[in-house]
């Protein structure tokens, strides 16, 4: 059968788009907080104030005539990332890993010229990648250095770690590995591999590509069973701290491990997708129910992480069905 029975999906606690939009996003994410995460410059500023490590900002461009300055800004750097400030879903991100004379090289090895970068920047400023096509700004960040632990699991790109933080508690995590098919991007629907990560240990649980189970990386052939993410506690704490930082109750934190600077946050998302459930082979609903059943939110991210690690570890006993009913089902 190509279709799952809705009854079974519900019994596994899988949350669908409608339930996510209705029961999680519109219930726990107040609209006025969206700009904090939709505008990556604001997020970066907030994170820095909160003492969270973020990639270094090399420069920003706000107006079309700033494009002329691009050459000057880029001059000192060989490696950088150009991003639309209000982009979504990884759109419009240009990664340059090498600069040689007049040529700039993408991770794939393709060479482009300054004029191409200028056009890309100009497109971003015109709002090509922003939500609703509104005029946008451009930010240029330092390139993240691939941590050697991932070198066997990554193809032409930097893997990132998506952690779903619900009311300050990390409830599910996934590692997104770049592949040849995904063109070096950590985007699942473009062909990146999603690896479900055990909240308790940071170890790999299960991996999918294009919605189907894979046992090893399609390009490097390395099996996932040996994969374990280092600095796992630190990553969870960074993610958990984003709740205080933004106030968003249902949040997707995208983190990376930098070879030199360790864990850092690259992006926050107020509408995190649901593929993480496929990568984990588990539904979000039971975990959401556990957090919703709590009387109070612990103000200390450290304590919350400890709670999550014991509750949502793969080793922990499965949750009683009583808890499967989430408030997402309840009307407001």
């Amino acid at each position: 059968m190509f279709l799952a029975s809705p009854k079974k999906l519900r019994s596994f606690g899988i949350i669908g788009m409608n339930q996510r939009n209705f029961g999680l996003i519109s219930r726990y994410n107040p609209r006025h907080l969206y700009p904090l995460v939709d505008d990556k410059l604001k997020t970066k500023l907030l994170a820095q104030q909160a003492g969270i490590t973020v990639p270094k900002l090399l420069g920003t461009l706000h107006y079309q005539h700033d494009v002329k300055l691009l050459k000057e800004i880029l001059h000192p750097y060989d490696q950088f990332v150009i991003k639309p400030v209000k982009g979504s879903g990884g759109k419009g991100i240009l990664v340059i890993t090498q600069h040689d004379h007049n040529l700039y090289f993408k991770p794939s090895g393709d060479a482009i010229q300054l004029a191409d970068i200028e056009r890309h920047v100009s497109n971003i400023l015109s709002g090509l990648h922003s939500l609703g096509g509104k005029p946008d700004s451009v930010m240029i960040e330092s390139l993240i250095q691939l941590d050697p632990v991932f070198s066997d699991y990554s193809y032409e790109g930097i893997p990132d770690i998506r952690i779903i933080v619900f009311r300050g508690y990390p409830i599910m995590a996934m590692l997104r590995l770049t592949t040849h098919a995904s063109d070096g991007k950590a985007n699942l629907h473009q062909g990146a591999v999603g690896v479900g990560i055990d909240i308790g240990t940071g170890g790999a649980l299960h991996a999918v590509q294009f919605g189907e189970t894979v046992l090893h990386h399609p390009d490097t052939r390395k099996t996932f069973s040996e994969l374990a993410i280092p600095h796992w506690d630190k990553l969870l704490q960074l993610a958990a701290a984003c709740y205080e930082m933004t106030g968003l109750g249902y949040l997707g934190a995208d983190l990376v491990l930098d070879r030199d600077q360790g864990p850092m946050i690259i992006e926050l998302n107020a509408r995190p997708g649901l593929s993480i459930q496929v990568a984990n082979y588990a539904g979000l609903a039971p975990r959401v129910a556990v957090i919703e059943a709590l009387k109070a939110i612990d103000p200390n991210p450290q304590t919350r992480v400890t709670f999550s690690k014991t509750q949502f570890s793969a080793a922990a006993k499965p949750h009683t069905p009583r808890l499967q009913h989430t408030r997402c089902d309840d009307p407001r």
Partner: protein
């Protein structure tokens, strides 16, 4: 839970209001629920001929009464150079033509269009009978009458049966002596009617003459038929004077009640009146709208019907949009189809209505396909975004013009409808598709483009349905029902059909995990 209750109350309220208004319009105002509903409309022409003596002429003619069971659409009074007025007296309406001096053959016309409604005539309270006047027969007739009445009285139990028996006895095939005395074979209809009324009066029963017209299509030179109306038990009952059958026959128009003359001609002679009847069918909806407008029923008077025709036509289109919106909501929330632009499919569907389905799809694919080709060249030109989309708009217009001109030369008239496609929307579609192609590859373009087109086609199939088009325009209250559905769908938190596929691998794993 409290908020929940309020929400459902709102939905029920909106739904109830919509359904209630629809039922009101259907049952009380008579709006048909189907577009093809037709009502027979009778057009009756009364032709009055007479020859004038040369002096002043006054023609007075009784007109049919306005009762709730008929709706008069139109009345015409035609006569050359006559002064005309319409009078209303307690005994009914009359038309009056007049002229100072005229000689020779004259003709005047009265034309009437009407249709019958289902409404039952409620007897008018003021319509009380006068005390029956005892007739004065000569001795022979009087004896015959009394004998006949005695016989009939013996055979009947109440007034109704008495009336029927009396009429039957008078019409008997083998007349007794008494009957022959009262009613010879040569007696006119009018004489018979008055005889019945007089006989009833001798019994103390009030009765009156009713003249009416049998409505039959294509009849000419018809005259009015006499009926007898008898006052029994507080209401008037109609009896056929030839058969004694009680009740108004079908397709029978009561023209005049009471003893007043049908036609009076002062200053003329040899006056004659003849009726011709034509039946035709008209859309029930048009008749009802016209009738409601003239009665100033609030719901119709303050409705789209009160707008000029041009605006009404615009609304015909606009009122279809909610249907399209409902389709989009269903496709996105229940099916989970991805479309390029939320409501772009509705606009495409609107264009399809103008172009017809197949032509429309071919044109759409041609324009978008060609646009994408040219757009891929534009993206190499290093243009600013706004300039680029503007360029795409011009490209789209050029493509549309080319399609029109080429197809015109080839004699393909259908392709001329290309102008109905919204240019700006097409340009945006091309721009989005092109960006999608560059970023996510052709597969995503096919998924979203296909999803948009599929939604558009389904929306088109609904919006172009004659019945739906008719209902949405004539029952704008349907929008409330639609709104209630959309509100309900807005609270749907279950899985989308596409998610059952998206998560299907989870089911396998979980099942095997358990076993």
């Amino acid at each position: 839970m409290h908020a929940n209750l309020r929400f459902y109350l709102l939905v029920i309220l909106v739904m109830g209001l919509g359904v209630g208004l629809i039922l009101y319009k259907h049952f009380i105002l008579g709006f048909p629920l189907l577009p093809d509903d037709k009502t027979p409309v009778w057009t009756i022409e009364a032709k009055i001929d007479f020859s004038a003596r040369g002096g002043p002429v006054v023609v007075s003619f009784a007109l049919p009464p306005e009762t709730p069971d008929i709706v008069i659409i139109k009345e015409d009074f035609a006569s050359p150079d006559y002064g005309f007025s319409q009078l209303t007296s307690p005994s009914g309406r009359r038309a009056q033509w007049s002229k100072r001096a005229v000689k020779g053959a004259q003709t005047t016309y009265y034309r009437l269009s009407l249709y019958e409604t289902d409404q039952i005539t409620s007897s008018i309270a003021a319509d009380l009978p006068s005390e029956p006047e005892k007739p004065e027969f000569d001795e022979v007739l009087n004896t015959a009458a009394i004998t006949l009445l005695d016989q009939v009285r013996n055979r009947s139990a109440n007034t109704e049966i008495f009336t029927r028996e009396l009429i039957t006895a008078l019409n008997s095939k083998v007349p007794s002596q008494n009957q022959s005395l009262l009613l010879s074979e040569r007696s006119s209809d009018d004489y018979k009617t008055h005889l019945i009324i007089n006989l009833l009066a001798m019994e103390g029963i009030s009765a009156r003459i009713v003249r009416g017209l049998y409505l039959e299509d294509g009849r000419r030179r018809q005259s009015l038929t006499n009926f007898v109306e008898v006052y029994i038990g507080g209401q008037w009952l109609l009896f056929n004077q030839n058969s004694g059958i009680h009740g108004k026959p079908e397709n029978f128009l009561i023209w005049q009640r009471g003893d007043e003359s049908l036609l009076d001609v002062v200053g003329g002679k040899n006056s004659q009146i003849s009726f011709s009847i034509i039946k035709n069918f008209q859309s029930t909806r048009n008749l009802v709208v016209r009738d409601s407008m003239s009665k100033q029923a609030g719901i119709i008077d303050f409705s789209i019907y009160s707008l000029p025709i041009e605006q009404q036509n615009a609304f015909k289109m606009i009122l279809l949009l909610p249907i399209g919106a409902l389709i989009v909501v269903i496709m996105r929330l229940l099916i989970g189809l991805r479309t390029s632009g939320t409501f772009m499919p509705i606009l495409i569907a609107l264009a399809l209505i103008q172009t017809t389905l197949l032509t429309g799809i071919v044109i759409f694919l041609t324009v978008v396909g060609t646009g994408l080709l040219i757009r891929s060249y534009l993206s190499r030109l290093n243009l600013l975004f706004v300039a680029r989309i503007s360029a795409v708009i011009i490209v789209v217009i050029v493509i549309m013009a080319s399609i029109s001109i080429i197809s015109n030369k080839l004699g393909l008239d259908q392709a001329l409808t290309v102008t109905f496609f919204p240019m700006i929307i097409l340009s945006w579609t091309i721009e989005r598709m092109s960006v999608l192609w560059e970023e996510d590859g052709p597969r995503e373009v096919l998924i979203q483009g296909g999803g948009s087109l599929l939604t558009a086609v389904i929306a088109y199939l609904f919006m172009s349905n004659r019945t739906i088009e008719y209902l949405s325009f004539n029952f704008p209250e349907l929008m409330l029902v639609n709104l209630a559905f959309i509100l309900l769908l807005g609270q749907y938190t279950g899985y989308r059909l596409s998610e059952l596929y998206r998560f299907h691998s989870l089911e396998r794993r979980n099942v095997s995990g358990k076993s």
